[in-house]
Amino acid sequence: MSLTAVAIANTVRFGLRSAREVVETTLEALGTRNQTYHCVTRLLTERALHMADTLDARIAHGDPVGVLAGVPFGVKDLFDMEGMVTTAGSVVLNGNPPATQDAAVVQRLVAAGAIPVATLNMDEFAYGFSTENAHYGTTRNPRNTDCLAGGSSGGSAASVAAGLLPFALGSDTNGSIRVPASLCSVWGLRPTQGLLPLDGVYPFVASLDTVGPFAGTVTDLQRVFEAMNGHALEEIEDVRGLRVARLGGWFLQDVDPALLDGLDRILAFFGSHKEIELAEVARARASAFLISAAEGGNLHLPRLRKVPMDYDPATRDRLIAGAMLPSAAVIQAHRFRNWFRTGLHELFEQVDVLIAPATPGPAPRIDQATLSVGGRTVSARANLGLFTQPLSLGGMPVLSAPLPPAASASTNGMPLGIQIIAAPGKENMLFAIGKVLSHAGLAGYPVLGMPVPDKD
Protein backbone atom coordinates (compact mmCIF):
# COMPACT_ATOMS: atom_id res chain seq x y z
CA MET A 1 0.00 0.00 0.00
CA SER A 2 2.75 2.42 1.13
CA LEU A 3 0.51 5.48 1.23
CA THR A 4 -0.88 7.12 4.33
CA ALA A 5 -4.59 6.95 5.08
CA VAL A 6 -4.81 10.72 4.67
CA ALA A 7 -3.15 10.55 1.24
CA ILE A 8 -5.37 7.68 0.06
CA ALA A 9 -8.54 9.46 1.19
CA ASN A 10 -7.49 12.63 -0.61
CA THR A 11 -6.80 10.83 -3.90
CA VAL A 12 -10.10 8.97 -3.73
CA ARG A 13 -12.23 11.93 -2.64
CA PHE A 14 -10.88 14.11 -5.41
CA GLY A 15 -11.27 11.44 -8.07
CA LEU A 16 -7.55 10.95 -8.72
CA ARG A 17 -7.87 7.24 -8.03
CA SER A 18 -10.90 4.99 -7.64
CA ALA A 19 -11.69 3.21 -4.40
CA ARG A 20 -11.87 -0.03 -6.40
CA GLU A 21 -8.31 0.44 -7.62
CA VAL A 22 -7.11 1.08 -4.06
CA VAL A 23 -8.92 -1.97 -2.72
CA GLU A 24 -7.81 -4.26 -5.56
CA THR A 25 -4.18 -3.22 -5.08
CA THR A 26 -4.43 -3.78 -1.34
CA LEU A 27 -6.06 -7.20 -1.68
CA GLU A 28 -3.43 -8.27 -4.18
CA ALA A 29 -0.62 -7.19 -1.86
CA LEU A 30 -2.23 -8.96 1.09
CA GLY A 31 -2.70 -12.10 -1.00
CA THR A 32 0.90 -12.25 -2.16
CA ARG A 33 2.90 -10.87 0.77
CA ASN A 34 0.95 -12.31 3.70
CA GLN A 35 2.74 -15.64 3.42
CA THR A 36 5.86 -13.83 4.65
CA TYR A 37 4.23 -12.30 7.72
CA HIS A 38 1.15 -14.43 8.56
CA CYS A 39 -0.78 -11.39 9.69
CA VAL A 40 -4.05 -12.01 7.80
CA THR A 41 -6.59 -14.66 8.76
CA ARG A 42 -9.36 -13.89 6.25
CA LEU A 43 -9.69 -11.59 3.25
CA LEU A 44 -13.01 -9.78 2.86
CA THR A 45 -12.69 -9.59 -0.94
CA GLU A 46 -16.32 -9.62 -2.06
CA ARG A 47 -17.53 -7.21 0.58
CA ALA A 48 -14.60 -4.81 0.10
CA LEU A 49 -14.99 -4.61 -3.67
CA HIS A 50 -18.74 -4.05 -3.34
CA MET A 51 -18.15 -1.23 -0.84
CA ALA A 52 -15.51 0.31 -3.12
CA ASP A 53 -17.87 0.28 -6.11
CA THR A 54 -20.64 1.86 -4.04
CA LEU A 55 -18.25 4.57 -2.87
CA ASP A 56 -17.00 5.25 -6.41
CA ALA A 57 -20.58 5.59 -7.60
CA ARG A 58 -21.32 8.12 -4.86
CA ILE A 59 -18.23 10.15 -5.75
CA ALA A 60 -19.15 10.07 -9.44
CA HIS A 61 -22.62 11.27 -8.46
CA GLY A 62 -21.17 14.16 -6.46
CA ASP A 63 -22.43 12.85 -3.11
CA PRO A 64 -20.43 13.78 -0.01
CA VAL A 65 -18.13 11.06 1.34
CA GLY A 66 -16.30 10.70 4.65
CA VAL A 67 -12.80 11.72 5.66
CA LEU A 68 -11.53 8.14 5.26
CA ALA A 69 -13.10 7.60 1.85
CA GLY A 70 -11.67 4.51 0.19
CA VAL A 71 -9.08 3.81 2.90
CA PRO A 72 -8.63 0.05 3.35
CA PHE A 73 -8.16 -1.32 6.84
CA GLY A 74 -8.00 -4.58 8.78
CA VAL A 75 -9.48 -5.68 12.08
CA LYS A 76 -8.14 -7.97 14.75
CA ASP A 77 -10.13 -11.16 14.49
CA LEU A 78 -12.28 -10.34 17.52
CA PHE A 79 -14.32 -7.52 15.94
CA ASP A 80 -17.71 -8.61 14.63
CA MET A 81 -17.95 -8.36 10.86
CA GLU A 82 -21.44 -8.75 9.47
CA GLY A 83 -22.08 -12.19 8.00
CA MET A 84 -18.96 -13.80 9.48
CA VAL A 85 -18.31 -15.86 12.60
CA THR A 86 -16.06 -13.96 15.00
CA THR A 87 -13.21 -16.33 15.82
CA ALA A 88 -11.30 -14.36 18.49
CA GLY A 89 -8.27 -16.23 17.20
CA SER A 90 -9.72 -19.60 18.14
CA VAL A 91 -11.59 -22.51 16.59
CA VAL A 92 -13.70 -22.93 19.73
CA LEU A 93 -16.30 -20.42 18.54
CA ASN A 94 -16.66 -21.89 15.04
CA GLY A 95 -20.17 -23.12 15.82
CA ASN A 96 -21.40 -19.63 16.70
CA PRO A 97 -23.80 -17.89 14.30
CA PRO A 98 -22.35 -15.23 11.99
CA ALA A 99 -22.43 -11.66 13.30
CA THR A 100 -25.57 -9.80 12.33
CA GLN A 101 -23.79 -6.45 12.14
CA ASP A 102 -20.32 -4.95 12.30
CA ALA A 103 -18.81 -4.00 15.67
CA ALA A 104 -19.78 -0.45 16.66
CA VAL A 105 -16.35 1.09 15.99
CA VAL A 106 -16.18 -0.65 12.60
CA GLN A 107 -19.57 0.86 11.75
CA ARG A 108 -18.21 4.31 12.59
CA LEU A 109 -15.17 3.82 10.35
CA VAL A 110 -17.32 2.52 7.51
CA ALA A 111 -19.55 5.58 7.92
CA ALA A 112 -16.40 7.69 7.47
CA GLY A 113 -15.74 5.91 4.16
CA ALA A 114 -13.12 3.37 5.26
CA ILE A 115 -13.31 -0.14 3.76
CA PRO A 116 -12.53 -3.28 5.81
CA VAL A 117 -10.49 -5.72 3.71
CA ALA A 118 -9.16 -8.36 6.14
CA THR A 119 -9.34 -9.92 9.56
CA LEU A 120 -6.00 -10.16 11.33
CA ASN A 121 -4.14 -12.66 13.48
CA MET A 122 -3.93 -12.52 17.28
CA ASP A 123 -3.13 -14.60 20.33
CA GLU A 124 -6.08 -16.90 20.98
CA PHE A 125 -8.74 -14.93 22.88
CA ALA A 126 -6.21 -12.05 23.17
CA TYR A 127 -4.45 -13.91 26.01
CA GLY A 128 -0.77 -13.33 25.23
CA PHE A 129 1.81 -10.82 24.09
CA SER A 130 3.33 -12.70 21.17
CA THR A 131 0.74 -13.64 18.48
CA GLU A 132 1.86 -17.24 18.50
CA ASN A 133 -1.39 -18.95 17.63
CA ALA A 134 -1.73 -22.74 17.50
CA HIS A 135 -4.61 -22.47 15.01
CA TYR A 136 -3.57 -19.65 12.69
CA GLY A 137 0.22 -19.57 12.99
CA THR A 138 2.78 -17.12 14.35
CA THR A 139 2.75 -13.60 12.99
CA ARG A 140 6.24 -12.49 11.99
CA ASN A 141 7.73 -9.09 12.55
CA PRO A 142 8.10 -7.22 9.24
CA ARG A 143 11.29 -5.58 10.52
CA ASN A 144 12.89 -9.02 10.87
CA THR A 145 10.77 -12.04 10.13
CA ASP A 146 12.79 -14.19 12.55
CA CYS A 147 11.36 -12.08 15.37
CA LEU A 148 8.00 -11.90 17.13
CA ALA A 149 5.54 -9.21 16.11
CA GLY A 150 4.26 -9.01 19.69
CA GLY A 151 0.65 -9.36 20.70
CA SER A 152 -2.02 -9.94 21.16
CA SER A 153 -2.89 -7.61 18.25
CA GLY A 154 0.19 -8.76 16.32
CA GLY A 155 -1.52 -9.17 12.95
CA SER A 156 -2.76 -5.58 13.15
CA ALA A 157 0.65 -4.10 13.99
CA ALA A 158 2.51 -6.25 11.45
CA SER A 159 0.13 -5.47 8.58
CA VAL A 160 0.68 -1.74 9.13
CA ALA A 161 4.45 -2.03 9.63
CA ALA A 162 4.72 -4.11 6.44
CA GLY A 163 3.01 -1.35 4.50
CA LEU A 164 0.13 -3.70 3.63
CA LEU A 165 -2.55 -1.58 5.32
CA PRO A 166 -2.54 2.12 6.24
CA PHE A 167 -4.32 1.38 9.51
CA ALA A 168 -5.75 -1.50 11.51
CA LEU A 169 -7.79 -2.06 14.65
CA GLY A 170 -6.74 -3.94 17.75
CA SER A 171 -7.69 -4.36 21.37
CA ASP A 172 -5.64 -3.58 24.47
CA THR A 173 -6.37 -5.19 27.83
CA ASN A 174 -2.89 -5.42 29.34
CA GLY A 175 -0.83 -3.97 26.49
CA SER A 176 -2.05 -5.79 23.38
CA ILE A 177 -1.87 -2.63 21.25
CA ARG A 178 1.15 -1.03 22.91
CA VAL A 179 3.42 -4.11 22.85
CA PRO A 180 3.06 -5.05 19.15
CA ALA A 181 3.06 -1.38 18.10
CA SER A 182 6.40 -1.03 19.89
CA LEU A 183 7.96 -4.22 18.53
CA CYS A 184 6.83 -3.52 14.95
CA SER A 185 7.54 0.25 15.22
CA VAL A 186 4.15 1.69 14.34
CA TRP A 187 1.90 4.10 16.23
CA GLY A 188 -0.86 2.66 18.42
CA LEU A 189 -3.40 4.05 20.85
CA ARG A 190 -5.01 2.56 23.93
CA PRO A 191 -7.78 5.14 24.43
CA THR A 192 -9.28 6.18 27.76
CA GLN A 193 -11.06 3.13 29.11
CA GLY A 194 -14.78 3.29 28.40
CA LEU A 195 -14.47 5.99 25.74
CA LEU A 196 -14.99 3.81 22.68
CA PRO A 197 -17.86 1.30 22.54
CA LEU A 198 -17.04 -2.38 22.84
CA ASP A 199 -20.30 -3.56 21.25
CA GLY A 200 -19.50 -6.37 18.86
CA VAL A 201 -15.98 -6.91 20.25
CA TYR A 202 -15.33 -10.37 21.68
CA PRO A 203 -14.44 -9.79 25.35
CA PHE A 204 -11.36 -10.94 27.24
CA VAL A 205 -11.31 -9.07 30.57
CA ALA A 206 -14.38 -6.87 30.89
CA SER A 207 -12.74 -4.76 33.62
CA LEU A 208 -9.77 -3.77 31.46
CA ASP A 209 -10.69 -4.20 27.77
CA THR A 210 -10.31 -1.31 25.31
CA VAL A 211 -10.14 -1.06 21.50
CA GLY A 212 -7.94 1.24 19.46
CA PRO A 213 -6.12 1.86 16.19
CA PHE A 214 -2.65 1.28 14.73
CA ALA A 215 -1.20 3.46 11.95
CA GLY A 216 2.09 4.21 10.26
CA THR A 217 1.96 7.92 11.08
CA VAL A 218 0.64 9.82 14.09
CA THR A 219 -1.47 12.01 11.79
CA ASP A 220 -3.21 8.93 10.39
CA LEU A 221 -3.67 7.54 13.88
CA GLN A 222 -5.40 10.72 15.04
CA ARG A 223 -7.62 10.82 11.95
CA VAL A 224 -8.72 7.22 12.53
CA PHE A 225 -9.24 7.72 16.26
CA GLU A 226 -11.39 10.77 15.61
CA ALA A 227 -13.55 8.74 13.23
CA MET A 228 -13.86 5.98 15.84
CA ASN A 229 -14.71 8.51 18.54
CA GLY A 230 -17.17 10.50 16.43
CA HIS A 231 -15.60 13.96 16.67
CA ALA A 232 -12.40 15.93 16.13
CA LEU A 233 -10.06 16.50 19.06
CA GLU A 234 -9.49 19.91 20.55
CA GLU A 235 -6.13 21.40 19.50
CA ILE A 236 -3.40 22.07 22.08
CA GLU A 237 -1.90 25.53 21.60
CA ASP A 238 1.35 25.35 23.57
CA VAL A 239 2.65 21.80 23.22
CA ARG A 240 6.22 22.64 24.26
CA GLY A 241 4.77 24.11 27.45
CA LEU A 242 3.25 20.80 28.59
CA ARG A 243 4.72 19.36 31.78
CA VAL A 244 6.46 16.10 30.84
CA ALA A 245 8.01 13.59 33.25
CA ARG A 246 9.53 10.15 32.94
CA LEU A 247 8.42 7.15 34.96
CA GLY A 248 11.39 5.78 36.92
CA GLY A 249 11.98 2.78 39.17
CA TRP A 250 10.13 -0.25 37.79
CA PHE A 251 10.00 1.35 34.34
CA LEU A 252 13.78 1.55 34.04
CA GLN A 253 14.61 -2.03 35.00
CA ASP A 254 16.23 -4.25 32.36
CA VAL A 255 15.70 -1.55 29.72
CA ASP A 256 17.75 -1.47 26.53
CA PRO A 257 20.29 1.41 26.60
CA ALA A 258 19.05 2.73 23.24
CA LEU A 259 15.58 3.05 24.73
CA LEU A 260 16.90 5.01 27.69
CA ASP A 261 18.73 7.25 25.27
CA GLY A 262 15.53 7.88 23.31
CA LEU A 263 13.66 8.77 26.50
CA ASP A 264 16.50 11.11 27.53
CA ARG A 265 16.29 12.94 24.22
CA ILE A 266 12.55 13.41 24.54
CA LEU A 267 12.83 14.67 28.09
CA ALA A 268 15.57 17.11 27.02
CA PHE A 269 13.38 18.31 24.15
CA PHE A 270 10.78 19.39 26.70
CA GLY A 271 13.45 20.82 29.01
CA SER A 272 12.46 18.42 31.77
CA HIS A 273 14.49 16.45 34.28
CA LYS A 274 11.49 15.23 36.22
CA GLU A 275 11.33 11.55 37.09
CA ILE A 276 8.44 10.02 39.00
CA GLU A 277 8.57 6.68 40.77
CA LEU A 278 5.19 5.03 41.14
CA ALA A 279 4.53 3.10 44.32
CA GLU A 280 3.60 -0.58 44.27
CA VAL A 281 4.03 -1.23 40.54
CA ALA A 282 4.82 -4.91 41.10
CA ARG A 283 1.49 -5.29 42.90
CA ALA A 284 -0.24 -3.39 40.10
CA ARG A 285 1.09 -5.87 37.58
CA ALA A 286 0.18 -8.77 39.84
CA SER A 287 -3.35 -7.38 40.19
CA ALA A 288 -3.71 -7.04 36.43
CA PHE A 289 -2.56 -10.66 36.04
CA LEU A 290 -5.08 -11.90 38.61
CA ILE A 291 -8.01 -9.87 37.28
CA SER A 292 -7.24 -11.02 33.74
CA ALA A 293 -6.85 -14.67 34.66
CA ALA A 294 -10.01 -14.70 36.78
CA GLU A 295 -12.29 -12.85 34.37
CA GLY A 296 -10.91 -14.66 31.32
CA GLY A 297 -11.14 -18.01 33.09
CA ASN A 298 -14.69 -17.40 34.20
CA LEU A 299 -15.74 -16.29 30.70
CA HIS A 300 -14.49 -19.56 29.22
CA LEU A 301 -15.42 -21.92 32.03
CA PRO A 302 -18.50 -23.42 30.32
CA ARG A 303 -16.45 -24.28 27.22
CA LEU A 304 -13.44 -25.44 29.25
CA ARG A 305 -15.77 -28.01 30.84
CA LYS A 306 -16.86 -29.29 27.42
CA VAL A 307 -14.06 -28.84 24.87
CA PRO A 308 -10.79 -28.05 26.67
CA MET A 309 -8.66 -29.81 24.08
CA ASP A 310 -9.96 -27.56 21.29
CA TYR A 311 -8.15 -24.56 22.80
CA ASP A 312 -4.61 -23.44 22.07
CA PRO A 313 -2.78 -25.33 24.86
CA ALA A 314 -0.99 -22.21 26.13
CA THR A 315 -4.24 -20.28 26.41
CA ARG A 316 -6.21 -23.18 27.86
CA ASP A 317 -3.87 -23.89 30.75
CA ARG A 318 -3.79 -20.21 31.75
CA LEU A 319 -7.59 -19.94 31.54
CA ILE A 320 -8.14 -23.07 33.63
CA ALA A 321 -5.75 -21.82 36.32
CA GLY A 322 -7.52 -18.46 36.27
CA ALA A 323 -10.98 -19.97 36.57
CA MET A 324 -9.96 -21.56 39.88
CA LEU A 325 -8.59 -18.41 41.53
CA PRO A 326 -10.00 -17.75 45.02
CA SER A 327 -12.33 -14.79 45.33
CA ALA A 328 -10.24 -13.30 48.16
CA ALA A 329 -7.39 -12.71 45.74
CA VAL A 330 -9.51 -11.36 42.93
CA ILE A 331 -11.45 -8.96 45.15
CA GLN A 332 -8.21 -7.77 46.74
CA ALA A 333 -6.79 -7.16 43.24
CA HIS A 334 -9.83 -5.03 42.37
CA ARG A 335 -9.50 -3.11 45.64
CA PHE A 336 -5.82 -2.56 44.94
CA ARG A 337 -6.75 -1.34 41.48
CA ASN A 338 -8.95 1.34 43.04
CA TRP A 339 -6.11 2.44 45.33
CA PHE A 340 -3.49 2.44 42.56
CA ARG A 341 -5.74 4.25 40.10
CA THR A 342 -6.46 7.03 42.55
CA GLY A 343 -2.73 7.59 43.03
CA LEU A 344 -2.10 7.58 39.28
CA HIS A 345 -4.80 10.15 38.61
CA GLU A 346 -3.46 12.41 41.34
CA LEU A 347 -0.12 12.48 39.50
CA PHE A 348 -1.71 14.46 36.72
CA GLU A 349 -2.06 17.42 39.07
CA GLN A 350 1.78 17.69 38.88
CA VAL A 351 2.36 16.73 35.24
CA ASP A 352 0.48 16.67 31.95
CA VAL A 353 2.19 13.74 30.32
CA LEU A 354 4.30 10.80 31.46
CA ILE A 355 6.70 8.84 29.27
CA ALA A 356 7.95 5.29 29.78
CA PRO A 357 9.26 2.38 27.71
CA ALA A 358 6.63 0.21 26.05
CA THR A 359 8.70 -2.96 26.23
CA PRO A 360 12.11 -3.60 27.82
CA GLY A 361 13.82 -3.96 24.45
CA PRO A 362 13.38 -5.00 20.81
CA ALA A 363 11.36 -7.95 19.56
CA PRO A 364 12.64 -11.33 20.78
CA ARG A 365 13.45 -13.99 18.24
CA ILE A 366 10.65 -16.48 17.57
CA ASP A 367 12.97 -19.43 18.25
CA GLN A 368 14.14 -17.87 21.52
CA ALA A 369 11.04 -16.14 22.82
CA THR A 370 12.31 -15.15 26.24
CA LEU A 371 13.17 -11.99 28.18
CA SER A 372 15.55 -11.26 31.00
CA VAL A 373 13.67 -9.70 33.91
CA GLY A 374 15.37 -9.10 37.22
CA GLY A 375 18.11 -11.56 36.33
CA ARG A 376 15.61 -14.32 35.48
CA THR A 377 14.80 -15.66 32.03
CA VAL A 378 11.03 -15.59 31.53
CA SER A 379 8.68 -16.28 28.62
CA ALA A 380 8.07 -13.41 26.20
CA ARG A 381 4.48 -14.51 25.67
CA ALA A 382 3.54 -13.74 29.27
CA ASN A 383 6.03 -11.00 30.13
CA LEU A 384 6.34 -8.56 27.23
CA GLY A 385 3.71 -6.50 29.03
CA LEU A 386 6.04 -5.74 31.92
CA PHE A 387 5.64 -1.97 31.45
CA THR A 388 2.18 -1.82 29.87
CA GLN A 389 0.24 -4.07 32.22
CA PRO A 390 0.51 -1.98 35.40
CA LEU A 391 -0.71 1.13 33.57
CA SER A 392 -3.84 -0.65 32.32
CA LEU A 393 -5.21 -0.45 35.85
CA GLY A 394 -5.39 3.35 35.65
CA GLY A 395 -7.74 3.64 32.66
CA MET A 396 -5.69 6.52 31.18
CA PRO A 397 -5.11 6.88 27.43
CA VAL A 398 -1.68 5.72 26.29
CA LEU A 399 -0.03 6.43 22.94
CA SER A 400 2.54 3.91 21.78
CA ALA A 401 5.14 5.80 19.76
CA PRO A 402 8.00 4.26 17.77
CA LEU A 403 11.45 5.70 18.33
CA PRO A 404 13.20 6.65 15.08
CA PRO A 405 15.59 4.19 13.40
CA ALA A 406 18.97 4.18 15.13
CA ALA A 407 22.14 2.20 14.70
CA SER A 408 22.46 0.48 18.05
CA ALA A 409 24.54 -2.55 18.83
CA SER A 410 22.13 -3.53 21.59
CA THR A 411 19.10 -3.81 19.30
CA ASN A 412 20.64 -5.24 16.09
CA GLY A 413 18.78 -2.55 14.22
CA MET A 414 15.39 -3.62 15.55
CA PRO A 415 12.95 -0.89 16.57
CA LEU A 416 11.95 0.29 20.03
CA GLY A 417 8.86 2.04 21.31
CA ILE A 418 7.68 4.18 24.17
CA GLN A 419 4.43 4.87 25.99
CA ILE A 420 3.12 8.43 26.30
CA ILE A 421 0.48 8.63 29.02
CA ALA A 422 -2.04 11.39 29.80
CA ALA A 423 -4.94 11.89 32.19
CA PRO A 424 -8.26 10.26 31.28
CA GLY A 425 -9.93 11.96 28.32
CA LYS A 426 -6.76 13.80 27.27
CA GLU A 427 -6.08 12.01 24.00
CA ASN A 428 -5.58 15.44 22.42
CA MET A 429 -2.45 15.93 24.56
CA LEU A 430 -1.07 12.59 23.40
CA PHE A 431 -1.53 13.39 19.73
CA ALA A 432 -0.13 16.88 20.18
CA ILE A 433 3.00 15.43 21.80
CA GLY A 434 3.23 12.65 19.21
CA LYS A 435 3.07 15.10 16.33
CA VAL A 436 5.64 17.47 17.78
CA LEU A 437 8.02 14.55 18.47
CA SER A 438 7.50 13.20 14.96
CA HIS A 439 8.20 16.63 13.49
CA ALA A 440 11.37 16.92 15.58
CA GLY A 441 12.59 13.50 14.45
CA LEU A 442 12.37 12.09 17.98
CA ALA A 443 9.58 9.62 17.18
CA GLY A 444 8.30 7.87 14.07
CA TYR A 445 9.62 5.01 11.96
CA PRO A 446 8.87 4.57 8.25
CA VAL A 447 6.65 1.64 7.37
CA LEU A 448 8.05 -0.65 4.69
CA GLY A 449 7.81 0.98 1.28
CA MET A 450 7.37 4.47 2.70
CA PRO A 451 10.53 6.62 2.75
CA VAL A 452 9.99 9.00 5.68
CA PRO A 453 7.64 9.39 8.62
CA ASP A 454 5.21 12.30 8.47
CA LYS A 455 6.56 15.69 9.43
CA ASP A 456 3.25 17.52 9.70
Binding site: S207, E280, A286, L290, A321, R335, N338
Partner: protein, 62 residues
Protein backbone atom coordinates in the same frame (compact mmCIF):
# COMPACT_ATOMS: atom_id res chain seq x y z
CA UNK B 1 3.18 -39.45 53.06
CA UNK B 2 2.37 -37.22 50.06
CA UNK B 3 5.05 -35.33 48.16
CA UNK B 4 4.62 -31.59 47.53
CA UNK B 5 3.78 -32.33 43.90
CA UNK B 6 1.10 -34.85 44.85
CA UNK B 7 -0.30 -32.37 47.36
CA UNK B 8 -0.35 -29.62 44.68
CA UNK B 9 -2.12 -31.89 42.23
CA UNK B 10 -4.61 -32.96 44.87
CA UNK B 11 -5.36 -29.32 45.74
CA UNK B 12 -5.72 -28.45 42.07
CA UNK B 13 -8.16 -31.26 41.36
CA UNK B 14 -10.18 -30.35 44.44
CA UNK B 15 -10.37 -26.70 43.34
CA UNK B 16 -11.45 -27.84 39.88
CA UNK B 17 -14.18 -30.07 41.33
CA UNK B 18 -15.60 -27.08 43.25
CA UNK B 19 -16.31 -25.33 39.94
CA UNK B 20 -17.45 -28.54 38.24
CA UNK B 21 -14.39 -28.68 36.01
CA UNK B 22 -12.45 -31.78 35.04
CA UNK B 23 -8.83 -31.09 34.19
CA UNK B 24 -7.64 -33.48 31.47
CA UNK B 25 -4.42 -35.29 32.39
CA UNK B 26 -2.64 -33.69 29.42
CA UNK B 27 -3.36 -30.24 30.86
CA UNK B 28 -2.18 -30.92 34.41
CA UNK B 29 1.47 -29.88 33.98
CA UNK B 30 0.54 -26.59 32.29
CA UNK B 31 -2.27 -25.80 34.71
CA UNK B 32 -0.01 -26.61 37.66
CA UNK B 33 2.72 -24.29 36.36
CA UNK B 34 0.22 -21.48 35.81
CA UNK B 35 -1.37 -22.00 39.21
CA UNK B 36 2.04 -21.74 40.87
CA UNK B 37 2.73 -18.52 38.99
CA UNK B 38 -0.63 -17.06 39.96
CA UNK B 39 0.06 -18.00 43.59
CA UNK B 40 3.08 -15.68 43.56
CA UNK B 41 0.78 -12.86 42.44
CA UNK B 42 -1.81 -13.79 45.07
CA UNK B 43 0.86 -13.64 47.78
CA UNK B 44 2.03 -10.26 46.55
CA UNK B 45 -1.43 -8.74 46.44
CA UNK B 46 -2.68 -10.16 49.73
CA UNK B 47 0.40 -8.92 51.62
CA UNK B 48 -0.80 -5.35 51.27
CA UNK B 49 -3.24 -3.96 53.80
CA UNK B 50 -5.80 -1.71 52.17
CA UNK B 51 -8.08 0.70 54.05
CA UNK B 52 -11.64 -0.50 54.70
CA UNK B 53 -13.00 2.38 52.65
CA UNK B 54 -11.20 1.20 49.50
CA UNK B 55 -13.86 -0.77 47.63
CA UNK B 56 -13.26 -3.03 44.62
CA UNK B 57 -13.06 -1.20 41.29
CA UNK B 58 -14.79 -3.52 38.90
CA UNK B 59 -15.54 -0.80 36.39
CA UNK B 60 -13.70 2.24 35.20
CA UNK B 61 -15.18 5.70 35.79
CA UNK B 62 -12.83 8.52 34.75
Amino acid sequence: MQSDTEQDTGDLLAAARRIRLTIPDACLPGVTANTRLLQTYIDLVLELDLPDDCPPAYEYAP
